[in-house]
């Protein structure tokens, strides 16, 4: 763990070397996310509601999705950039080092500028929580924290999975992009607005629903079909999703080692 913090320190120092770049990217990212949100607001000006959901409810989904994604991107970017490591051969250097290779990959790229997006996300989150007029209690608070943690688990799992594909083909990451960048867009809206097959896929295969719609329904008092506790604990499914991602990664690394390079 200490090593990881060392990496964070190094990344931060590197950042300060080019303050103007960092500030530009940081604020630029804040602005991009904000503009996307303004776009959603404009749509609500015209459409008034989305499949029964009010603007504040959609804003909640949107902000959770973006915040969680920004956080994951900031710290797990190393896996997103993994194709670079393979192509340049730096992954072999990583394998030689002591400690887990995951630690080194995580440490290789830490994009603090993504925190700019996260801040916009958090601001929108706070605003929409206020707008949505939620009646909080301890259980909803737990559900909320689990939402954020679960979302991180899903996105980081996808990043790691994508990196695993890099051993086979560099193009693999492009396809995973559909589920990471695309997933972030997709999960910005309450999942029930989509077609049935999409809802099923994104509940059981890649569990966006478990950190987006289901706990949200619980928090906004819309959870009626099943016992409440299921709604509150649904983000735990996200952690279950994370496990096969790590497993695939470990298998890929082992295979890479055994082919000798």
């Amino acid at each position: 763990m200490k090593l990881y913090f060392k990496y964070v320190e190094i990344a931060f120092k590197g950042l300060i070397q080019y303050p103007l770049n960092f500030i530009a990217t940081f604020f630029g990212q804040m602005a991009t996310t904000a503009l996307g949100f303004i776009g959603v607001y404009m749509l609500f000006m015209r459409f008034d509601n989305l499949a029964g959901y009010s603007f504040s409810e959609v804003a909640l989904c949107y902000s959770v999705s973006f915040t969680v994604f920004a956080f994951t991107e900031c710290f797990f970017r190393g896996f997103d950039r993994f194709s670079n490591m393979i192509v340049k051969g730096t992954f072999d250097l990583v394998l030689v080092k002591p400690r887990s290779e995951i630690l080194h990959i995580l440490g290789s790229t830490i994009e603090f500028s993504r925190l700019g997006r996260m801040i916009t996300g958090i601001v929108i989150l706070v605003l929409s929580v206020n707008m949505a007029d939620i009646r909080w209690n301890i259980y909803k608070g737990i559900a909320f924290i689990l939402m954020l943690a679960g979302g991180t688990a899903v996105f980081s799992g996808l990043f790691i999975l994508g990196a695993s594909f890099c051993f086979v083909t560099v193009q693999g990451i492009e396809v995973v992009n559909i589920f990471t960048d695309g997933g972030r867009e997709f999960a910005s809206y309450p999942l029930t607005i989509y077609e049935k097959w999409a809802v099923k896929f994104f509940t059981y295969v890649i569990p966006y629903a478990c950190f987006n719609y289901i706990p949200l329904a619980f928090i906004t008092d819309k959870a009626v079909d099943y016992p409440q506790i299921l709604y509150m604990l649904s983000p735990l499914v996200c952690f279950i999703f994370f496990i096969p991602c790590i497993v695939v990664w470990k298998i890929s690394v082992r295979h890479y080692l055994s082919t000798g390079s």
């Binding site: 080019y18 103007l20 770049n21 530009a24 990217t25 630029g28 602005a31 991009t32 503009l35 996307g36 776009g39 404009m42 749509l43 000006m45 015209r46 459409f47 008034d48 509601n49 989305l50 499949a51 029964g52 193009q171 492009e174 396809v175 992009n177 559909i178 695309g182 867009e185 997709f186 809206y189 607005i193 989509y194 077609e195 999409a198």
Partner: protein, 273 residues
């Protein structure tokens, strides 16, 4: 230098970059799949909006769907966010000095180069996306324009889009000549342009007041106007009016860019050996 001969050499530059770009066909294939997925995502989102609207918006859903598919098909052409990274690197390194030694105008060289790359990127992708989008089950499918005048206007509008996009992009390279780091201006430019040209939210779905202002600004003539022509959402006369404004901006920005680059070249500082 003027005359046919000099124009020929810029076409050569365009051609070289075009061929280079076409070799990235594998990347293009996965790019197409990505764009398809995003297209479907967006259409699903808007479908949900349309289905829950009490009063349907002016733009009918099938035209919006075609509009969204157009965005995906022509994405490589219309986003300011995509730029020629090699060229930016050349400017940052100082390798641009080699180009200054050649008997080519710097602006024209960069312009032709970027054109070649953008055309290559788009050419690889737009046709498969348009074709497969047509095969999607209703209401997710693309519908082609029926009026031949619309088709002609569309082709003309794509040309204007190209000139507009590249002449706007040129300002980034010109600024980078001075600042050496393109990060900040690129971010600002792409935030502004890619939003108001209708890529984040289709312009017809923006508030009316906005649309009125945007009619006179260059942003919507990069992509929004093109796709409105394609989907036959506006009458052909209005389309032609808009194209005149777009052409005016294209020529104006082109001329301004050449002027600015001329000034920059006089005070250029080349770093490195």
């Amino acid at each position: 230098m003027t005359g046919i001969k000099s124009v020929r050499k810029y076409f050569a530059v365009l051609k070289i970059n075009l061929i280079m770009g076409l070799q990235y066909s594998v990347a293009a294939f996965t790019g197409i799949i990505t764009q398809f997925a995003f297209g479907i995502f967006h259409i699903m989102i808007y479908k949900a909006f349309y289905d829950s609207a009490k009063t349907p918006p002016d733009m009918p859903f099938d035209k919006l769907v075609s509009y969204l598919w157009c965005i995906q098909a022509f994405l490589a052409l219309i986003t300011i966010w995509w730029q020629d990274n090699d060229l930016l690197q050349n400017i940052a390194d100082g390798n641009i000095a080699y180009e200054l030694n050649k008997p080519v105008g710097l602006y024209n060289y960069c312009f032709a180069r970027i054109c070649g790359k953008r055309i290559a990127n788009v050419a690889l992708r737009f046709l498969p996306v348009l074709i497969f989008a047509q095969l999607m089950p209703a209401p997710y499918n693309l519908t082609l324009p029926r009026n031949p005048v619309s088709v002609l206007l569309f082709i003309g509008s794509i040309f204007i889009s190209l000139v507009l996009v590249v002449s706007i992009s040129m300002f980034l390279y010109i600024i980078t000549l001075k600042t050496l780091s393109p990060v900040a201006p690129r971010m600002i430019m792409s935030i502004v342009f890619d939003f108001f040209s209708g890529i984040v939210i289709p312009v017809p779905l923006m508030p009316e007041a906005f649309q009125k202002i945007l009619f006179y600004l260059p942003f919507r003539y990069i992509s929004d106007w093109q796709f409105q022509i394609f989907t036959e959402n506006i009458g052909n006369t209005k389309a032609a009016e808009g194209l005149l404004i777009g052409a005016f901006w294209a020529v104006g920005l082109l001329w301004a860019g050449q002027l600015l680059m001329g000034r920059m070249q006089k005070s250029i500082v080349i770093q490195g050996g």
